[in-house]
Amino acid sequence: MVEGLGKRVVTEAYPWAPLEVPEGFRGKPVIDPEKCVGCGSCVNACPPNALTLSDDGRHRVVKLFLGRCIFCGRCEEVCPFNAIELTKEFELATSSTEDLVQEVRLVMAKCTVCGRPYATLREVRKVAESLPENLRGLAYVCPDCRGRISSYFVGFARR
């Protein structure tokens, strides 16, 4: 038994030397504020509600609170725009809660028919880009009004 002892040390020199983590390590998630469109997919998937969404009429805020995060990486998995990613960062201890919060504020788009804010401007533009030119205007109309408009046209066509 004595043979195995003292030969191999697994204790790391950390924190006096940096600690390597492997590829694919699930560390601190970071939202890229340039890419996020505020669609809320990550918010729906996040198990512990570390990600939340709030609207104040003019802005939509995607908020990440690391104090609740379990580093599962579901947000990264579901984000349609690769706007949120887990990093290798794990040194998150802090004496201030603010350090644990990331907020992305996005301007809301107003419906061109009823004037109600219904999605972020960035998301609406993305949708518009994906539509054929003659239908683009529809992207700037909220889902409710869009429904009314199309049923009007459908009703018109039946007549």
């Binding site: 195995g4 002892l5 590829e23 694919g24 699930r26 729906n44 996040c46 198990p47």
Partner: protein, 573 residues
């Protein structure tokens, strides 16, 4: 260990259940048969089942459900395992009214004791004829008639709002009363009472033992637990969607969390009839064995520590460290967390990772063998654990022990073989059984299991087929029952679900293996020497729990002294 054809056995069992008076019998999933029985017939039905299947019938757990919003009634579903026949029998009974009553099965199957009391606490279902109808889970001062798992109880409702309310009338802490339940009516004549537990800053699993000792001998032991009931079931049923729950499920345990994520996913997959791709099943099994490996090696460390052999403790944890690093490379963190979703797994094990695993196995197996072989050849160690903490085969069966604990008492049960899941359908598992029923047997069983895990991982890696990692599926069908069972490092882990609407669960009932194994501890402690208590308690593989500090009360003078049970045990032992 292949047995008689499954469908033949199933047909015969279904016939038997009908003959014995089940109202309806349905095969809900592979290896699971659901029978419904009226409550007047329940006892007779189960008595007949016991007569029919005898020893091989094991009460696994039971689940109470508030079905009033959908059916206007409560239901109680008992899970009975027929391990030899590779079947789980679900026996469901309905009960009506605001204080529903069903007959208790505890007089027939003592292993039902805790599970029934849990349903009584959380749902207000009375079990008529229960020999011990007292609180199990809820704290003593919990108000009468408030049942947190009923559907009309909001999950975020606070029972007490102000600190003063929490503190209670006499300024005593409301949530812990040192009285065990049932209250110690009489302290036994001439005995000293030694409470072990309930809290220690280093513990994550508080438990409380009350040991009555006569000199060195423990004459009676009582157990009280559930100090950290976290309300996970309620949270999952009210706030989470099916693919969020795996991340909650794996947090049930800090050591073997992945097994819970698997059992949960299996339950939902069974309920929704989702076919998981084969490669995903292999990956699950590989990770489950990696989890067993690190869990068992950790336990060896703890056991050595309990025996006062700290060199062994450190050596084991050093060996385990390599497993943890591989786990980190495979899953993205040291714990084998975050790998499962309903329908499959989230990460692949590619060639590079597989070779990491193989290299780790090579060194861990060699080092573990070398070290443990030499320790187990030391007379001081063997004599210290031989014939200590005996749990007879009879008692193990009666109390429903599972896992290595049961296997060390001569019961050859193992979910991997008896109810094969994940990739255990494709590989043969050698079940380690010992029959000396003592702590030594528990050590030897786990030793064999470490070696077997290493062999299994190698075989699984070799046979793993190519393919998808995740099944595709649509919305969840509502109100379907599903059962998922895995062999956790500590024994059978059972998850029962009833699906709900909107991709949510209507009911989720996980039951961890320690739930049943802990109930066997008092039996093992009685008649033992006090100095053996720490290793006996540890031998079922809970955590360090409470073995550190005890309070000795001298009954005549009432003087309290604090001392360290562990140190005490070592100096005497």
């Amino acid at each position: 260990m292949r047995r008689a054809s499954g469908s033949e056995v199933l047909g015969r069992v279904v016939e038997t259940l009908k003959r014995l008076g089940a109202e309806s019998v349905t095969v809900t999933q592979e290896g699971v048969v659901l029978s419904t029985v009226t409550k007047d017939r329940l006892r007779d039905f189960v008595r007949a089942l016991i007569r029919e299947y005898g020893e091989s019938l094991r009460h696994s757990t039971c689940m109470g459900t508030d079905l009033r919003p959908v059916r206007g009634s409560f239901s109680v579903t008992h899970v009975l395992a027929l391990d030899g026949l590779r079947l789980y029998l679900l026996v469901e009974t309905e009960a009506f009214g605001n204080r529903p009553k069903v007959p208790s099965l505890t007089p027939l199957l003592p292993a039902a004791n805790w599970a029934e009391r849990e349903a009584r606490d959380l749902l207000g279902i009375e079990f008529e004829g229960h020999p011990e109808p007292v609180k199990l889970i809820l704290p003593d001062p919990w108000p009468e008639g408030v049942f947190p798992l009923r559907k009309d109880y909001p999950y975020n409702k606070k029972l007490y709002e102000t600190p003063a309310q929490v503190r209670g009338v006499r300024g005593e802490p409301r949530f812990f009363s040192a009285k065990p339940s049932p209250p110690s009516e009489s302290v036994r004549e001439g005995c000293a009472l030694i409470p072990v537990g309930p809290y220690h800053p280093a513990l994550h699993e508080p438990e409380y033992y009350e040991l009555y000792v006569e000199g060195e001998r423990i004459v009676e032991a009582r157990y009280r637990g559930f100090f950290v009931h976290r309300g996970m079931e309620k949270l999952a049923e009210s706030r989470m969607t099916i693919n969020q729950v795996p991340f909650l499920a794996e947090r049930i345990c800090g050591i073997c969390g992945y097994t819970h994520a698997c059992a949960y996913c299996q339950a939902v997959e069974a309920a929704a009839r989702i076919e998981v791709p084969e490669r995903a099943l292999y990956i699950r099994s590989i990770l489950l064995e990696i989890e067993r490996l690190h869990s068992h090696i950790l336990w060896f460390g703890v056991a050595f520590h309990m025996l006062g052999f700290d060199t062994g403790f450190m050596a084991m944890w050093r060996i385990r460290e390599e497993v943890m690093r591989v786990a980190e490379a495979l899953t993205g963190n040291r714990k084998t967390y975050g790998m499962n979703l309903v329908g499959g797994v989230r990460r692949d094990i590619d060639e590079g990772k597989a070779s990491l695993v193989l290299r780790m196995l090579e060194s861990v197996e060699g080092e573990f063998r070398r070290f443990c072989d030499s320790v187990l050849s030391m007379r001081e160690v063997v004599e210290r654990v031989k014939e200590v903490g005996v749990l007879t085969r009879e008692d193990a069966r009666r109390l429903g022990a599972v896992g290595p604990h049961a296997r060390a008492s001569g019961l050859g049960i193992d979910v991997r073989v008896d109810h094969p899941y994940a990739a255990y359908r494709f590989v043969d598992v050698n079940v380690a059984v010992r029959d000396s029923c003592d702590v030594l047997a528990r050590i030897l069983v786990r030793y064999d299991e470490v070696i077997e895990s290493v062999r299994l991982i190698r075989e699984l890696l070799k046979n793993m087929p190519k393919g998808e990692l995740m099944a595709e599926y649509g919305d969840l069908p509502p109100l379907r029952v599903g059962l998922g069972a895995t062999e956790a490092p500590r024994g059978e882990d059972i998850h029962l679900v009833i699906t709900g609407r909107g991709n949510k669960l209507y009911r989720w009932r996980p039951r961890a293996p320690s739930y049943v194994n802990l109930a066997t501890v008092p039996t093992m402690l009685e008649g033992e020497r006090l100095a053996n208590a720490p290793i006996i308690i540890a031998s079922i593989d809970p955590c360090f729990s409470c073995t550190d500090h005890v309070v000795v009360v001298d009954l005549r003078t009432g003087v309290r002294r604090r001392m360290n049970l562990l140190r005490n045990a070592l100096t005497r032992g």
